[in-house]
Structure formats: C-alpha cells, structure tokens
C-alpha cells in the first residue's frame, strides 16, 4: 500500500482526512483517480477491495471545491440497501470535512415529498436503482433533473449484467447520454469470467479500458468432512448440522449460504432444534418481509449474530463487517458464484477468505470436489449473454413516450449504441415501436385506440393519462406470483410464498416461514393468514424456490472426473460408489450418452444421463415422455436432476436411440414448445415487461376474479391466431435460453453426436438409485391420468352417496 504522501489529483483536504483515518489509497483507487476523464472505465476488484471508494474518488475530488450546480454523479446499484449503505459511508467524510456536497438516495422506499423535492432540486450525488432511474427518465422534466450530470457509477455491474435489469439500465443510460453528451461512465465489478463482455455492456460495442485490482490471496476453501456420511439424495444437509454448529462456535461470524429459500428455511429450523447453546443465529432471504430482513441486517452490522442462514439475497455488496467464515450448503452449481460468495468472508483486502463446502448428498460430493478444483484453478464459468431482450426495449420506448414526443430515428441511434442492442436491426426496432403503438397484431383492430400516435414526425401517447399506468409498471423484476403471509388478526407480515404453493394448502396445514412453524388458516384478499403452531414438524415441507442449473463448465469437469482411473480426492465411500457403477454399468462420458433401463417394483425405468443441467434435463423429460406416449410406451412420469432424467412407465424402452436422436428431438421440439407450460410462464414475464399485461393497477384490485383472466389465455389465442407476433418471438427466444434451456440440449447433442450406449440391467444401477428418491417428480398427463381423474370423481360421488338428483 502507498504511504500518506500527497496523491496526485486528490485535493489536500481529502488526502489529509484519509491520513487521519490511517487509510492509504490502493493502487487501483489511484488509477481510477488518474483516469477520471475517461469516457468509460471498468474496475474489476474482489469483494472488500474498496471498489466503491474507487468509483467515488473522482466525484469527491471534483465536488470538493464547490461551485457545481445540480446533479453531478448518479450511482446505480442493484440493491436499495446498498445505496443506503453507501450514503452513510460517503456522508461521513463529507460531514466531517464540511464539504459542500449533498448526497441522497432514491428508491421505492423514498417518501413522496422527498422524491418531489429531489426532482425540483437534485442533490450532487444521487444513489439509486435501475428501476428508480427508469422512472426518473420517464418524467417530462428529465432534461432539467439531469442537467449538469457528469458521471454515472454502476456498482455490482456483474450482477446487473446477468439480468434484464442491466439491459434496462443501459437503455436508460443511453437516454442520459443523449441528454448529457459529456457523461462519463464507471462500472464496478466483482471477479468475472469475461470482463470484456461487461465492458461492452457498460460502454457500448467498442468496450472500454478495464482496470484490474490485485485479486488478493487465494481463498482458503475446503470441503467439510463429517463423521456422518451424506445421504444418497436430498438437499437439506441435515446430517451436517452438528458439524456446522461446531464451525459456528469456532468462528466469530459465519454466513451459511443455501441455493434455495426452501432449503434455507428447513436448515435454519433444524439448526435451531440442535442449537443447545442458544447461539444467536438469524435467517435472511428474499421471501421474508422487509422488516424482518432489516432487523437481521441491523443485528448483523451490530455484531450481535454469530451466524446467518441465507440465500443469494446476501450475495451482494453490503459490508457485513466481521464475517470470518462462509459455508456453502449444497453444491455451488456455478464456480463464479461460489467465488463471489466466498468473498463475503474477511471483507478486508489482502486477507484470505475462508470457506467450507457442505455437499448435501453423495452426488454433490463429486460436484463439490469439481468446484473446488475449478476455484483453485481460477476457472470461472458463465454463459455468453444473448442479444438485448426486446421486451425490455418495448418498455423503454413506452418510458420515453411518457417523457414526451420522440423521433424514431433518434431513439434507434441511442439504443443501437448500447452494447446489448448493438446488433438490433432497424426492422426489429420498428417492430417494437409498432407493438407499443398499435399492439402489432396482424388484425388491425386498434386504429382508434392506439397507444402511441405519430404527430409531426414524433411519436407520443394518444392519451397522456396513460403515462401514470406505464410508470406504475416500470421494471423488469418478475416476482413469481407471490402472496403475503401474515399472522391472523392483523399480525405483522412474515414474508411471502408463491401463489402456487398457497393454492396447495388446506386449513390446518403447517409450514415453515422465517424459521417458525405456522398453521394455514385461510386466504384473505391475496394474503395468506396463519397462526402460530406448536407442532414440532411442519406437515408441508416448505415453499418452492429457484433452482439453478449446474453450469456447462462444471458439468464438463464432473464428466472428466468420471474418466479418472481412481478418485483419491473423493472420500472412500463416494469413490467406491463410482467404482461400483463402472463395474455394473458405465460411468457417463462427455462424448457419449449413457442410457440405462431396468425394472423396479413393477415399473419400467429408463435413465438418460445428459449432464445438461436441471432445466434442460427437465425439458428432455417432457420431450422424451411425449415421444414415448406417441410410441405407446405409456410413460407415467419422470424426474430430472442436473445430470440425468429418469422416466418410468408401463412398457420397457427397447430402443432409446430412436427416441433420443438429435434431429428428431429438434423437430419435435418446435411443435411441443408451443403448448408448453414453461412457454406460458415465459410469455407472462415478457408480456408484463413489454407492457401488454399490467402488474399494478391504479385502483385497488377488484375483489372478484371475474374481471381478471390468465395470461395463458392470451398466449393460447396468439399462438392460434397470430403465431408470428412479436411477443411470441420474444418468448421463444427467452425460453430457449432460460427455463427450457434448449441451448444446453443442443450442446449435449453436439458433444455426443447421437452416440448412445444403452445398458439393460436386472436391477437399479448405483448412479440411478439416488434418482428414485429425488423430489420433484413430474407426472405425465396422458390418457391414463384422465382415466384416473374420472375414477377419482366417481369415488367421491359414491362416497357422498349421490348418484343423481
């Protein structure tokens, strides 16, 4: 680290303050200051590397002298909490030195009066989120609000760049650049596999200079060894509770990461049952109410907690102080995310972070060892980002229309200057504009009710009152439909569960939320009412959560590991399991597909080891069972994991190669895709972002549901009457990458090239055995199931003693 001598470019008043704090600038912080004039700059630094200060030094320097009128620097982060945290940190030197700098944050939580005042008299530094920024540029007075803006700092840009929030932000910045041509951009990123791609996101197709901070020492990372063997299947890792508690006891503060909220809830519950010392342990995840999360955050900052059980909601930037251990429960699925999580420990520069991986089951031991090796080899994974999503562009066009009339040529020029939309053709842009203006239907029905009209060469809202509704629906975050959970009798909100989960509950069911067991009492106006339950065990396990697929790179590492002659890096029981699989069948290989068939308890099972990740294996299950239904093999259901799809039915599969042929899979896919539930879910998201469906309505929602109807109906109607509609194109593009993940199936087809090894066994194979215990079975709704439903209805009728009236 540099000494306390004067830093070129740093005003003495700031330099002195740093010296008094005993701080010295890191080299990358000085570098950022030296390049303050660069039109765009990306800083890659590990967690705890003083990224944010590096981003703000030029701003503080430029503002210290006073005299700047209006907004100078806009700071955008993915988390409201992060903006609030940064505000506190920045205000300290500003207040202690009496600098003439006003710093404020703005988010959905900011009061109405405060927001009005910020528009009339903007602060020098405004800290905000992509959604709040999009809202700001939708105002007619946006040119006045942003007058004088010099710099924009995008924090945690690696996280934003992975989602549509990043695309929306970059579109908003393209508008700001139009308003303030001299605007300089700075991106702050954690370690990523492809920094140049982030630079293009930030600065446009040409990219920008990238500064790399010293990555610091390698993390101290290992797999937790327990006396108890991990179970064959499941994600709870309950077996590891005593060992995890020992670790918590031995450290100051431990973060215990989980891949899903559901697993976090169950683990937290079990941890408390075993926590005989009453160690203060909290839980934090995105489904908990804001009050609950804030309480945990405050306790954490104050150092009152020894551990927090958490999910991705703690992946990002807030400084948690004294974390000295990160525990990852369950295989990390993705090495990049693992590295970023590990960075949460020892949030101090140049101290190694300490982390433990806890495999939840036997297969995850293999995954964890593969991830450890990848982490030590600095081999990060990630999928290249596709072209800019056009639903986000449609929303951007509507936002611009709220701000006032615009010329299509100008907007096209701005939009195609962003990295994500650099490849957008003019016809594609015009189709989005057309969608916003008329709906873009083949049937021209809305000539009288167009949303946008062209007057004197400029597009504008037909009815200016529409701006209110558009503004209320800004944003790209798609909460799956969730309903609030609160204690009956006006109790405090406990959190949220998915609507689908709420629908499965009947009165008296008990489930876990926020670490407590509650009893379902009823659904009242979109709120689940519960009471406290004395029961020891929740009847319904818990609510669903996002499941990440194992990355392509990590899957490839696992397949490569299988080819080793032996496995010294694996525990003996796991190595023995793989050896047995090799003896009775094969171990899967990257360039071939292993298919195993066996009979078990009266059903015929076939297992396809595609190693294509959970979503793609799920798609594969849907495709294969559909083909089996046609072939008369009466499939009854399947289950998919990250590495295999297991299908069961009434007839044995004699020739899987015929089912599994790449060309046929692709051909069947297109027709299958149209009717698929995943497509409907993707459509709902795209249609909401593009402004066809409104999440938020001006009045309170109507109580009856007669007025609302499912977006599935809109989807079915479009597929039937307007199959080439823009929204269907966007939906298809989206689903191929996301939930359907056909890209991973293509990758699997490409590496295996229809080379299939079919092994028929007289019993369950070692590798397939855990799949028989896997949760999340998908029934196949074929002719057989219809018959079962009719029989069930008849049984109910007979039970009720009713034949007919």
């Amino acid at each position: 680290m540099a000494g306390s001598e004067a830093q070129p470019g740093l005003p003495p008043v700031l330099a002195d303050w740093f010296t008094r704090q005993g701080w010295a600038l890191h080299p990358h912080q000085s570098d950022m200051l030296a390049r303050a004039a660069a039109p765009a700059l990306l800083l890659i630094a590990p967690t705890g590397g003083g990224k944010t200060l590096a981003g703000f030094l030029p701003t503080l320097t430029e503002l210290a002298a006073g005299g700047h009128q209006g907004l100078h620097t806009l700071y955008v982060s993915p988390l409201k909490a992060l903006a609030a945290d940064i505000k506190r940190n920045l205000r300290r030197p500003v207040e202690e030195l009496g600098l003439p700098i006003r710093i404020e944050d703005r988010s959905g939580d900011t009061s109405y009066t405060q927001k009005r005042r910020q528009r009339a008299d903007p602060p020098h530094i405004l800290l905000t989120t992509p959604e709040s920024l999009a809202l700001l540029i939708s105002y007619e007075d946006a040119p006045r609000i942003f007058a004088g803006l010099q710099r924009v700092v995008v924090d945690e840009i690696h996280a934003l760049a992975e989602s549509k929030r990043g695309d929306q932000l970059m579109l908003a910045l393209s508008r700001l650049q139009g308003l303030c041509p001299g605007l300089r951009r700075v991106g702050l990123s954690a370690t990523v596999e492809d920094p140049a791609a982030i630079a293009r996101q930030l600065a446009g197709p040409a990219g920008c200079e990238i500064l790399n901070a010293d990555p610091g020492p390698d993390p101290d990372i290992s797999m937790l060894v327990t006396a108890e063997r991990p179970p064959w299947m499941g994600g709870g890792a309950a077996y590891a509770i005593p060992a995890v508690l020992d670790q918590v006891r031995a450290h100051r503060t431990t973060l215990i990461f989980h891949n899903t909220r559901a697993q976090a809830e169950v683990f937290f519950h079990n941890l408390w049952l075993a926590n005989t010392d009453d160690l203060p342990i909290g839980i934090h995840h995105g489904s908990l109410s804001r009050e609950q999360r804030e309480a945990v955050e405050a306790a954490m900052v104050a150092g009152r907690l020894r551990a927090i059980v958490c999910t991705g909601s703690l992946d990002l930037g807030i400084d948690w102080g004294d974390v000295d251990l990160v525990i990852q429960i369950g295989a990390p699925k993705n090495v990049k995310r693992l590295i970023q999580r590990i960075g949460r420990a020892n949030h101090r520069y140049n101290a190694p972070s300490k982390a433990l991986l806890v495999p939840a089951n036997r297969f995850e031991i293999v995954e964890c060892v593969a991830a450890l090796e990848a982490a030590l080899a600095h081999d990060l994974d990630g999928d290249p980002k596709g072209p800019g999503p056009r639903d986000v562009l449609c929303q951007h066009i509507l936002i611009l229309a709220c701000a006032g009339p615009f010329a299509a040529d100008e907007v096209y020029a701005e939009v195609s200057g962003t990295g994500a939309f650099a490849g957008l053709t003019r016809p594609d842009f015009d189709a989005c504009l057309e969608f916003c203006a008329t709906g873009g239907y083949a049937l021209r029905a809305y000539d009288r009710w167009q949303r946008l009209l062209l007057r004197d060469g400029r597009w504008q809202l037909r009815d200016p009152r529409a701006a209110q509704r558009i503004r209320m629906n800004i944003g790209t975050i798609q909460d799956t439909d969730t309903v609030k959970v609160r204690l009956r009798g006006g109790g405090k909100p406990l959190g949220e569960v998915e609507e689908g989960f709420a629908a499965t509950l009947t009165q008296g069911d008990t489930f876990l939320i926020g670490g407590q067991i509650v009893r379902y009492e009823g659904l009242r106006e979109l709120t689940v009412e519960v009471s406290r339950s004395a029961s020891k065990r929740p009847r319904v396990a818990t609510f669903m959560g996002t499941k990440f697929a194992t990355s392509t790179q990590l899957s490839a590492r696992i397949l490569a590991m299988f080819q080793q002659p032996d496995w010294p890096s694996l525990p003996a029981h796991t190595a023995g399991w793989l050896a047995l699989q090799r003896e009775v069948s094969h171990l899967p290989q990257a360039e071939r597909i292993l298919v195993e068939s066996f009979a078990h308890e009266g059903l015929e099972y076939t297992c396809f080891y595609g190693f294509a990740g959970r979503n793609a294996q799920q798609t594969l299950g849907l495709l294969l069972t559909q083909r089996m239904e046609v072939a008369g093999l009466s499939p009854l259901g399947f289950v998919a994991t990250d590495y295999a799809t297991l299908i069961w039915g009434l007839e044995p599969v004699a020739a899987p190669a015929a089912l599994f042929n790449g060309a046929d899979l692709r051909a069947g896919f297109e027709t299958w895709l149209a009717g698929n539930a995943v497509m409907k879910r993707s459509f709902r998201a795209c249609a909401t972002i593009a402004g066809l469906i409104e999440r938020n309505l001006p009045q309170a929602r109507k109580s009856g549901r007669q007025a609302t109807f499912s977006s599935d109906i809109l989807y079915d109607t479009l597929v039937k009457y307007d199959p080439d509609h823009l929204l269907l194109q966007i939906t298809r593009e989206e689903a191929m990458r996301g939930l359907v993940d056909f890209g991973r199936i293509e990758e699997m087809i490409a590496r295996s090239r229809d080379r299939i090894d079919h092994v028929t066994l007289d019993r369950v194979s070692p590798l397939a055995a855990p799949l028989l215990l896997e949760m999340g079975r998908v029934p196949v709704m074929g002719e057989g199931r219809e018959r079962i439903m009719v029989a069930e209805a008849e049984r109910l009728l007979a039970e009720a003693g009713i034949a007919d009236f």
């Binding site: 709906g439 509704r469 007669q706 009457y721 029934p779 219809e786």
Partner: protein, 219 residues
C-alpha cells in the same frame, strides 16, 4: 366429443366440454357470458391492446358446437357483449361469422349486466325465457326453481389438475353455466357468494377434454 348427460328438474341435459349446454328435447343450445368485444372495451377504457382475437376465438368455438348439434334454438344467456358499445363495433368479419351461425335457427339474446339493452344484431332480445320445464335468465334469483343462469363464471381447481377449469354448478333448483367467452376469468366455487347460493347438496361439472362431475367442495 366427450359429453356428460345429467337430469335437472325433469329435463335431460348434456354438458359439453366447451361449457355449452345441450337440451336435446327442445333442440336448444345454451351458452353464457360470451363477452364478445372484450379486448375492444379494454383498449377503449384503459388503453391496453390485448390480442384482438377473442371474439373470433369464441365464435369459432360456438361454430363447432352448433355444427355438432344443429340446434333449432341458440340461447345466449347474457353478458354476450362486454358492453353495448363493443356490440356496435364488431369487426365485419366477426359480424358475418355471427350471421352465418344465426342462419336457419332462432337466436335469443338474454339481457345481462354488461349488455342490458338491445343490440343492433339479428335475434330476439329478452330479459328471460322459458323452455320446457326450465327458465333461462342471466343472474340467479333468490328462491328460483328450475333456473338456468350464468353471470358468475364459476371455476374450480383440483390438486394435480394444473390450471383451474371453468365449471357448471348444479343443485336441485339451480344450474349455473360456466363462462363461454375466450377472455373470461372465473370465480372459484369456494367463493362465499357461490357457497351461499348453492344448496348443501350441490355438484360441480368440470369442463375440459372430458367433463367430470363431482360434489361441490364446501368450506
């Protein structure tokens, strides 16, 4: 077509998968809550431009049922149009499909709360109608006997069924039809208003590929 036959107040009736009701003795086909022109009304009122195909989709479905049974009578049980203005601004192509459906049979528009007045289309406009032992009106009335109505858009979701399906509701006095229109949401049969409306012993008939009859779930 998978149909479900049942008797109601002395009439032998058939529930069709689409949500239409066939009364063979009178050669009468009854559909409820078509809500034609709904996307037009939504665009006019709030500026959202939904896929403007719901009138076409609804009429296509109706054409299938009419083609299959060739009824003498078609009763539209109210809320046939999303509002009177939507009735006046039907697309010319939809108007001619409707005329083709009406040719050679008697067509009755029963008034609903969305379309209380007469519309400028062929067919007779009435508040209610009697046919055989049954009385047809839009909204169920207190103390009614042998009454066929619509209005509520009943639907039901069963565990494992996926999305909720529109359904018929049936007790000794009342038959409530599902909404037939393409863009119609539904009201769960567990809603208090439907629980209160139906007698203790009531049944549900689910629409869908195979209509299924079962007891009405009670809270």
């Amino acid at each position: 077509m998978n149909k479900l036959e049942f008797s109601f107040c002395g009439a032998d009736l058939t529930a069709l998968p689409s949500g239409a009701l066939w009364f063979a003795a009178e050669r009468l086909l009854c559909v409820s809550d078509l809500h034609l022109g709904k996307s037009d009304r939504i665009a006019r009122r709030i500026g959202l431009m939904l896929p403007p195909y719901e009138t076409r989709a609804t009429l296509d479905r109706l054409a299938m049922d009419i083609g299959a049974f060739d009824p003498d009578w078609v009763i539209c049980l109210g809320d046939s149009f999303d509002d009177l203005e939507a009735a006046g601004s039907l697309d010319p192509e939809d108007q001619s499909s409707l005329l083709r459906l009406q040719a050679g049979r008697r067509w009755v528009w029963i008034a609903g709360n969305h379309d209380p007045g007469p519309v400028d289309l062929a067919g007779s406009h009435v508040a209610m109608l009697r046919a055989g032992p049954l009385v047809f009106r839009h909204e169920a009335t207190a103390g009614a006997e042998a009454e066929v109505s619509g209005h509520y858009h009943p639907k039901l979701s069963l565990p494992g069924m996926g999305r909720a399906r529109a359904c018929y509701l049936l007790d000794r006095c009342r038959l409530i039809l599902p909404a037939y229109g393409a863009y119609t949401g539904g009201l769960s049969v567990t809603a208090p208003v439907l629980q209160a409306l139906m007698q203790r012993r009531a049944d549900v008939i689910l629409t869908g590929a195979r209509p299924v009859r079962m007891p009405m779930p009670r809270l």
